[in-house]
Symmetry: C2
């Protein structure tokens, strides 16, 4: 992995200065060409069709890269490296996806397979790690060298950047921030333990919490907002109900935030980063989400009266963070 600089060159000014970044998702492959200033010159998406053999998926990754290069008017020779952000446990040392539930992969030599097709040195990392690196290089945490990213989606993804580099532990199997216990003997988590942060602070958890509250409160506006069908509840529903002065909505939001506050503060006390970045659709709730968390962290941060607590901020790059971070691997 290379050290991060605000303006990133590939070793020499005379050498090619673009990098290729690929965000490999369960649904789509997004390939981008990233310039020295961490800007995406062009990007191109194709469906992943994850059920196929991995060689076919990699073939389409290579095609998406060539299309993005063509759209940007840049040749492969102008690029110095490629990176892939993949779901699952990705061993950065060997370039192997050790396991991905989303893709149904085990021990896939992803970096080597792509390298054969596009003739660039390829590196891989977990998608949440890449998103964290992208936000540090060019997004919400630009200028920071130490940051923690939590993505609030189906699960709680974690990405940790220390001294400008991705930290992910032995065989890149760490930084599983969503799988830390917040409520001992609490709700069952997908990982088999009980009470993990993911089971309380993911977007899916918020949906569950909203459904339960609506079931207990037939008078709540939540019912109207979801058209009487609890299956239509989303991560936005409780926030919207609260905006329309619904008491149940307010309680759901407050309770959800109380979990998220504790989770964020735990990672502040562990990593003491320069900032904590929150990603995922829920972050569009803006101040209603961020203000209570920042207040909580400032108040309870260990040694916060001695060393100022870090800011908790919203991710800025959306899906582009993964492309940019992958390019910088």
């Amino acid at each position: 992995m290379e050290a991060m600089e605000p303006v990133l060159a590939c070793s020499h000014l005379s050498r090619p200065a673009y990098r290729v970044g690929i965000d490999l998702g369960g649904t789509n492959i997004a390939a981008g060409v990233v310039d020295e200033n961490c800007r995406i010159a062009a990007k191109y998406s194709v469906p992943t069709k994850a059920e196929r053999p991995y060689e076919e998926i990699v073939e389409d990754m290579a095609k998406a890269v060539r299309q993005a290069l063509q759209d940007a008017g840049i040749s492969l020779e102008q690029c110095c490296s490629a990176g892939i952000g993949s779901p699952g446990i990705c061993d950065s040392e060997t370039g192997t996806v050790l396991y991905s539930n989303n893709l149904g992969w085990k021990d896939v030599p992803l970096a080597a397979t792509l390298q054969k097709r596009i003739d660039l040195p390829c590196r891989i990392s977990n998608d949440a790690n890449c998103a964290a690196l992208g936000e540090v290089a060019a997004g919400a945490a630009k200028g920071c060298k130490n940051a923690v990213l939590l993505t609030l989606g189906t699960g709680v993804g974690g990405g940790v950047v220390l001294d400008g580099k991705i930290f992910s532990g032995c065989h890149s199997a760490g930084a599983e921030l969503g799988h830390t216990v917040l409520v001992k003997d609490g709700e069952l988590c997908t990982c088999g333990r009980r009470g993990c942060l993911e089971a309380y602070a993911s977007a899916s958890a918020l949906v569950r919490q909203t459904k339960r509250a609506a079931a207990e409160h037939p008078e709540s506006l939540i019912w109207k907002l979801c058209g009487g069908d609890l299956e239509r509840i989303s991560g936005r529903t409780s926030f919207e109900a609260e905006r329309q002065a619904d008491e149940t909505g307010r309680q759901v939001v407050d309770t959800y935030l109380s979990y998220l506050c504790e989770g964020v503060l735990d990672f502040v006390n562990i990593f003491r980063p320069e900032c904590v970045i929150l990603g995922g659709g829920i972050c569009n709730e803006g101040a209603r989400l961020l203000d209570p968390i920042n207040a909580y962290v400032r108040h309870y941060c260990f040694g916060g009266e001695i060393v100022a607590a870090p800011a908790v901020i919203k991710a800025a790059l959306g899906n582009d963070a993964g492309i940019i971070g992958a390019a910088l691997l």
Copy 2:
């Protein structure tokens, strides 16, 4: 900080090869001379008398260093550096103890003050960090480059070594592993939050748990073991009661271990180290402590079926870990 090597030389073979390590505690100052093989050639202790001005304490630190050197038959000129492990928040960059509750210190320029007295480059770090580094260099985790240490004492201290170096976050205010929530809205912690690991898994917490159980179970052997005086209960009492087939003792131990298991596993999922080292007197319980934790970590570790879970082991160096780690700063 220097990169760790199994055999540690100060840059050149022709240059002095000993290092000075000082473990500064609330009660005692322990100074040691550490050789290239991370062995303590001699050590010397003096009382801290923490209520004094810090300059006097540093003066005694310098005297203890000179005495240890004399006992080892080594001159100051044969040493290349000195390090101090101090309680509190120690900014390694500036050599300043930003805050220490134990010592009643705020913004004490510890490294610079000692450097004036012993004319060696001085570095500082938190005492738990130094202990972790010492265990990695010469103790239970020798050969590892990534390890997490938890010391189970009055509180739960945390030390993290990543890639052979201490990790402690911005201004060294991180790695506060004891101050992460395990039981949301649980028992009040010394840090002001509720439900921290420290409030459930420290030796003090075990004593509290043992007292409560004894109060609820007048038939328990715990009463006999503490001579009818609950204030005489220690971290050993419940383990001893269990050894003598006391059901209440067994329950206390099982419950305590259930908290410790979750805490250890959280740091496994976050840092995915090569090992987790447990320190503090409770670790003398050996297999009764370590076996259930290792079984739990192996079973529930995230991705444990893909990347083998790290071992949870007992610290090996006792108080010497702090001296050795400080010497290696």
